[in-house]
Chain length 282, copies 2
Amino acid sequence: MSKAKKQILTIVGLGVMGGSLGAALRKRSRMVRVIGLSRSRSKIALAKRRGYIHDGTTELKAAVSGADVIVICTPVDTIINLISKIDRIAKRGAVVTDVGSVKFKMVNWAAGHTFQNIHFIGSHPLTGSHLTGVGHSRHDLYEGATVFVTPHRRSNRDALRRVGRLWRSLKSRVIELDAYEHDRMVSFISHVPHAVAASLVNATPERSVKHASSGFRDTTRIAMGEQDIWLPIFLDNRANLLRGLRGFERSLHSLMTSLMRSDKKKLKRFLTNAAHLRRQID
Amino acid sequence: MSKAKKQILTIVGLGVMGGSLGAALRKRSRMVRVIGLSRSRSKIALAKRRGYIHDGTTELKAAVSGADVIVICTPVDTIINLISKIDRIAKRGAVVTDVGSVKFKMVNWAAGHTFQNIHFIGSHPLTGSHLTGVGHSRHDLYEGATVFVTPHRRSNRDALRRVGRLWRSLKSRVIELDAYEHDRMVSFISHVPHAVAASLVNATPERSVKHASSGFRDTTRIAMGEQDIWLPIFLDNRANLLRGLRGFERSLHSLMTSLMRSDKKKLKRFLTNAAHLRRQID
């Protein structure tokens, strides 16, 4: 706290997202002091030993009261409550952001809320790992990743700039997006695929699974994600997820109908379209 | 043909499977002369230049008449016809196998057929690449891969041993399996995932696809496969594929129902089950 100009950044929650954030910050800047908050003393100890954080605590007040920037890296169903609590004990003008995968609910809540001390700006780094826990942190997890930042009309412009700068300093690509639009888009590229992958695993007989090769492994990798993270995401983005899954079902049905009819022309078009679209991002 | 004891092995079809087979054989043994057959002179030239084959030809007769072992590496809808043709021109006692992903139809056909010269044993290496073409061949594509070998009661035992030995010499793990059982199992771990991945891509708005991160990329990677390969597989294994897709649909529906009801307990169980089962093969 002593050395002039050193920013204090607090990471709330030491999982793979929080740990990797600390690792990236420590690697890229000496001008920031990184504090980690976790309920688990062993996670704090591990994060300190690995050099992801300068210091850690299990007490919210101790963690955030001196912080200039606070990044909430906990499951989406805990974030609104944490923002409320942090607002009461944070420094005046502190900037709070998060890494949650669903944005509309919290951004909408924040827009209608009068904060005492903080400015909240929602973030969602489109990165992660099925290898969970602070022990799987990687200093390059955010490098090259897209980070959606979802301000609303009443968002503080300076806070928005600072959050954008934070992510860019980790070599992320920042895209500003309306929170509602964000939730719809992310349902397509993340939540629907997760639901589909989990459904696929659950539909596969266990004795077949053991023979699975790279195709099945790739297709179902995300299904290994922790339910503590994913259940709140599913519930929070339920309407978009259901809408996306119904669209997926229609797509699957058109394939099944063509198969039942052995309609080569339609099957060929279906497979060609998919290969073509997917190759655009290979 | 001159040097004593050198076996002649002919690869029919120079794609990534055929090219990789040549590369692996050339790497592992000096006691085999590898001949490549392709309709494309440029593929033959490339395979020769890269050292995947000793020699190549566009003529079936030239390719197979001197061969001790012939491995058909072409799409599944071409294999039965090729076996027939090869039988008429091959050496007496030549062993023919293949790398096709669907086995029952051809094995059943072979079981009811009287060959003049060859012994046919179906094989299916559970490996491959969405990067297609002989140019993407890898000498280690078969290393550590499962190869299903699907004999029937009337299969020649010596030919079966030789085919098993061939795959094992490339460090593949050989599993003998009834062809009908094979097609059912492979529909679960390969053909259903492919259909699901393609449906997922086709259900995703193009403007969202461009933001896709590793989760979406993994889940849909196999959808890049060539339709020349996959359309015949889908048609050949149509009944199993449809049955598997119906099972997948039931699994998806149970998830959607739990979502509509916000049934946390069921959703949690669904996600936990999937993660648990998938982690067994991580």
